[in-house]
Amino acid sequence: MHIVVCVKQVPDTKIIKINPKTNTLDRRSAPAILNPYDAHAVQTAVSIKEAAGGEISVLSMGPPQAVDIIKKSVEIGADRGYLITDRAFAGADTLATSYALSKALDRISKEKPIDLIICGKHAIDGDTGQVGPGIARRLDIPPVTNVIEVSDINKDTRRVKIKRKIINGYELIETEMPCLLTVEKEINDIAYSPLPNMIKAARYTPIIWAVSDLEDVDRTQLGLKGSPTIVGKMFTPPKPEGGHMLDGNADDQAKQIIDILLQNKELFSVN
């Protein structure tokens, strides 16, 4: 089994705070982290490797500092990592991102055929969830989004069973390998990495590729040039008017709320 996990570097939105008064972003302490969903994706690969054997590669497109998230992936249990980094990739929307990643996956699969690709459900910054399915289409392999469990992998028939989250429930589906999964956080808990992984990661140097290292690349499909969407404008939504303020002391205010509640006869019946 050769599993490739796509991992993205994102700013830590847990730490980013928004000042509700000024509506500005408090960027002071927003370090770059491994997209949390992608950590679960790597962990999924680790569990599959533990059960079925194989190797785990991770792939990221991003700035040179993204080597850190590749090392983080090695801590979780990846065997190696590739970073594609080049000015030509900058400004990519999801279409251009999936194009670039698919070209890198082509090269990786030449070195060692890929059986499974795993992505996060979405990245917490761009937050579109479109890159995974996009890659699957470009490679013409089945995508399975919103995965909450990899139930069975049959190496001989090359078929996998997967639970996929849907509105109000889940579905169990079966598909063939290679395929692409995007995983929800609930698929697993990230294990506390063993010390040898930590040491390995601290020593690890990711493989770095530029556009020129990839084959058959149509440069017009990369980065800003290859992106059909653009950010037209940014604006602060018009401030809504607001409603009626309830006056008086706390007793009066509570009373007014109760009147409002009990007016809703379909919710409460009082005699």
């Binding site: 999801t94 509105i167 429930g169 889940y170 589906i173």
Partner: protein, 353 residues
């Protein structure tokens, strides 16, 4: 590993495309609410552009739903029926949608941002080599250039980003459930139904759906008629108990902001907002919540919003129907006490829960 199929020349520069389309998601013959909402939103866009509004319906034995789609605003319904479309699968649904889009060439194409809606839209956008704006909460159109202006909360800050797709058609967007308004169902409306067939055999399908399990026990917050949502302003987990207490009395669901979930006072499935649930209950209490945009997008379409915050300038008051400037820790116990009295004395009954 590439399929060798070139994507070039497939989508770009089809600027003479016309028509506004809505992907109508049905599950087991029932149309998802978001699809009806999108017909409402799409209607406005189509009227501005003076083009027909079409609903796109795929499935097995679903033709009868076409009428409903027209009642909710469509002028045309494109229907693709096939046994391979019995359950949703990216592979077959995507092919059906692409078939229609390539043949009839719409200029705008909207999808509900549900798991399946996002899934099919992402695949279709890749094959058509066009832009797809994710999780939009505002839609408009610039008539002269026939440009869809799809806006979504931008990462961080109380800022919306309008995403444009200038040179590629169709212009596609997924739209969050419960932010657009469906039209009143109008059985007098009429429209045209166009049927197409899909040539895929089950044997050629790589993916099979083995089982669908609906979780009926878990009552979703999205279904609650009343939600009591607390924020970081409750101070600590113990005080947050007041939120549970009030909710219990009212038969309401309990919600929280992201900060509350991160503090561990509630589990993630109670989070309301951009990265949590979107809800539109009849009554929404926002208590000790500042009202950051990421929270507002998840609740601002509730019918009645009652906000309690000690800061008179808190943005939450901007969206509230009724506001109380005060200390929640003082107001809530009084409210709870008074409600018990007023309600039980009168032999009241919570009839909605």
């Amino acid at each position: 590993m590439s399929n060798g199929k070139s994507q070039e020349g497939r989508g770009p520069l089809m600027l003479d495309n016309r028509g506004v389309w809505v992907y109508v998601e049905q599950n087991e013959g029932v149309i998802e609410g978001v699809s009806l909402e999108l017909l409402g939103a799409g209607r406005k866009l189509a009227d501005k552009l003076e083009v027909p509004l079409a609903g796109i319906l795929l499935g097995d034995n679903v033709r009868e739903l076409a009428e409903e789609i027209i009642f909710y605003g469509a002028d045309e319904v494109y229907v693709v029926e096939s046994p391979v479309l019995k359950q949703y699968r990216t592979e077959s649904y995507m092919k059906g949608v692409i078939l229609l889009a390539e043949k009839y060439k719409p200029e705008i194409f909207l999808y509900g941002a549900t798991p399946n809606g996002k899934d099919v839209a992402s695949a279709v956008a890749t094959d058509l080599s066009t832009g797809l704006t994710a999780d939009t909460t505002m839609l408009d159109v610039e008539v002269e250039k026939r440009l869809l202006e799809a806006s979504r909360p931008a990462f961080g800050g109380n800022i919306m980003a309008t995403i444009l797709c200038k040179k590629h058609r169709p212009q596609m967007a997924t739209v969050r459930p419960k932010v657009m308004k469906a039209l009143e169902r109008d059985t007098a409306r009429t429209g045209r139904v166009i049927e197409e067939s899909l040539e895929i055999r089950e044997e050629d399908m790589r993916t099979k759906v083995l089982e669908i399990v609906k979780d009926v026990t878990k009552k979703s917050l999205a279904d609650a008629h009343i939600i009591v949502c607390g924020g970081k302003g409750m101070g600590d987990e113990r005080n947050f108990g007041l939120i549970h207490e009030l909710a219990g009395l009212l038969g309401a669901g309990v919600g929280g902001t992201r900060d509350v979930v991160e503090a561990g006072w509630l589990s993630h499935d109670h989070q309301i907002g951009q990265t949590g649930e979107t809800v539109t209950p009849k009554i929404y209490f926002a208590i000790g919540i500042s009202g950051a945009i990421q929270h507002l997008v998840g609740m601002k379409n509730s019918e009645i919003i009652i906000a309690i915050n000690k800061d008179p300038n808190a943005p939450i008051f901007g969206v509230s129907t009724y506001g109380i400037v005060g200390d929640a820790l003082e107001v809530l116990p009084i409210l709870i006490k008074q409600f018990k009295e007023a309600f039980h004395e009168k032999g009241g009954e919570v009839t909605h829960a």
